[in-house]
Symmetry: C2
Subunit: 108 residues, 2 copies
């Protein structure tokens, strides 16, 4: 479960993509995360989703803090990788959020 | 943690809102979820986020399946509640996704 008390920064990255390139983009994002991003200090988790029309890949990611994300983005190697991934998509929108409340199903 | 093998449907509801009404909208969404939505069959979890500018509230929600969500939306009481909540925001966008892969930090 997601836990507001962890105090993580949530980043939702939305990649718009043509349906015929959606799977390739997803694979590229997974490979970049497994090979590089998961080793970056402050990275907590990445969660890759595909919409049902296959026109959007989104990453629901958690970072330890806003400062950790800023430090990562200031690393030229990380910045270059993020730019490269964004260019494979038709558009790229990163948005930052604070998780405020998680509510499970009654009885869960 | 989020688990792709659970097979849930992910729904990301984005509510655009004026900063001075963002906290009130968030409270309304939390109350509606605690009092009503969490008892609806097929509901798994709701996770409410606020962006740093306080112009967006998003709910990262999980439902047991697309069929469960459709059944819930066909319930007049649930449909009316969702419409009512959407009207408090300046705009409301619900998007459906499949969680394909979760990658934790190295060593986590």
């Amino acid at each position: 479960m997601l836990d507001p008390s962890a105090g993580y920064l949530t980043v939702i990255n939305t990649y718009a993509v043509a349906p015929e390139r959606a799977e390739a983009l997803l694979e590229l994002l997974i490979r970049a995360t497994e090979e590089t991003l998961r080793y970056v200090p402050g990275f907590v988790t990445a969660n890759f989703h595909m919409n049902l029309d296959r026109t959007q890949v989104i990453n629901y990611a958690q970072w330890r803090s806003g400062d950790a994300l800023q430090a990562a983005a200031a690393d030229p190697k990380v910045a270059a990788l993020i730019r490269e991934l964004a260019q494979v998509a038709d558009s790229f929108t990163p948005l930052r959020y604070e998780l405020r409340r998680s509510i499970p199903a009654a009885g869960a």
